[in-house]
Symmetry: C2
């Protein structure tokens, strides 16, 4: 897989860090954003896969012969509903209060595009068990960290990952935004 040049079409600094773990040559390209609109009737579980494909479309026609495109979308699902990025600090507090004491799912959809026009998509699910949180703990996190750019209003790699996350079932890196084991396998299976 080292002979390829990878394009990560994502502005997420966490995804950039995770992609770097694969020891491959890649660059970030966020020049072709899309409106992240999901068709009526798309289930919460199908949403990230759909959005990762949508994010890939604008890049597909311009891939060079040695280039491979990677896009991703991550959602947090609680009680069957997608929990998006919070609108503001109050929304972040409300989101964390909803997640506290419960187990939610994090699903990342990944699409891999190739110069022959093929687009492979998969989804990875991780269950995350949150402990209870006091209002003071929620305030502390929202005031000191940056929950607004994160699905579910938390970053598992931050203080809240210590304070709130009792355990997970599945891929940790999927919760950070990119299921790198599945991605590694998909890239090596067809390099």
């Amino acid at each position: 897989m080292n002979s390829k040049r990878y394009i990560l079409a994502s502005g997420s600094p966490r995804r950039r860090e995770l992609m770097a773990m694969l020891d491959v040559d890649f660059r970030v390209d966020t020049s072709r954003p899309v409106d992240e609109v999901v068709p009526e009737g798309t289930s919460a579980e199908e949403t990230p896969a759909y959005l990762s494909r949508l994010k890939a479309q604008p890049y597909m026609d311009s891939l060079r012969p040695d280039e491979v495109l990677v896009t991703a979308d991550t959602v947090v699902i609680l009680d069957g509903k997608v929990i998006g990025k919070p609108k503001d600090a109050d929304d972040a507090r409300a989101t964390l209060a909803r997640l506290a004491g419960k187990t939610h799912k994090v699903i990342t959809g990944v699409s891999i595009g190739r110069p022959d026009g093929s687009l492979t998509t998969f989804s990875e699910v991780t269950e995350v068990e949150f402990d209870t949180l006091t209002p003071a703990e929620i305030d502390y996190y929202v005031e000191r960290y940056s929950p607004l750019d994160k699905a579910g209003a938390y970053g598992i790699q931050e203080w809240i990952g210590a304070a709130a996350v009792k355990g997970i079932r599945g891929s940790f890196y999927n919760v950070m935004g990119l299921p790198i084991h599945r991605l590694y396998r998909a890239l090596t299976a067809n390099c």
Copy 2:
């Protein structure tokens, strides 16, 4: 918990990173190492808790009134046996070949010492599912990374964490060497 000064008696750079996630004032002190000898008949599962207590002993008499001591020991257990740190590169390769395609347990024992002489100990278990690995993948990791200072010959935060780890069940940070959620709860329950 912010009014206390924590002493982390561990030379592990991973534990230092994880302790820093708790946003507390701490310093590392490795000035009083012990011989890590486990009594005959101690089970694999009990070993890390025993060793974390042993590591704490030399520091207990000199804790100041505002100081709290944290020690830890991590073992990898496969088929009921402790897999230690590898002796050399060949041993690291053999260890990774044994872990490949199987699920192993990572147990970290943690002891928390206080100036009144009390020493609280707990163990946290995480199951880690390894995918199969090719000899080329094992060679790549052993040659490019530093498996020799790591229980089980791997660091989940490195390339091998992407290549090998399909998923976990439990605390991710426990696999890195410190179960920071349990630690956070233990420290805030009795600050």
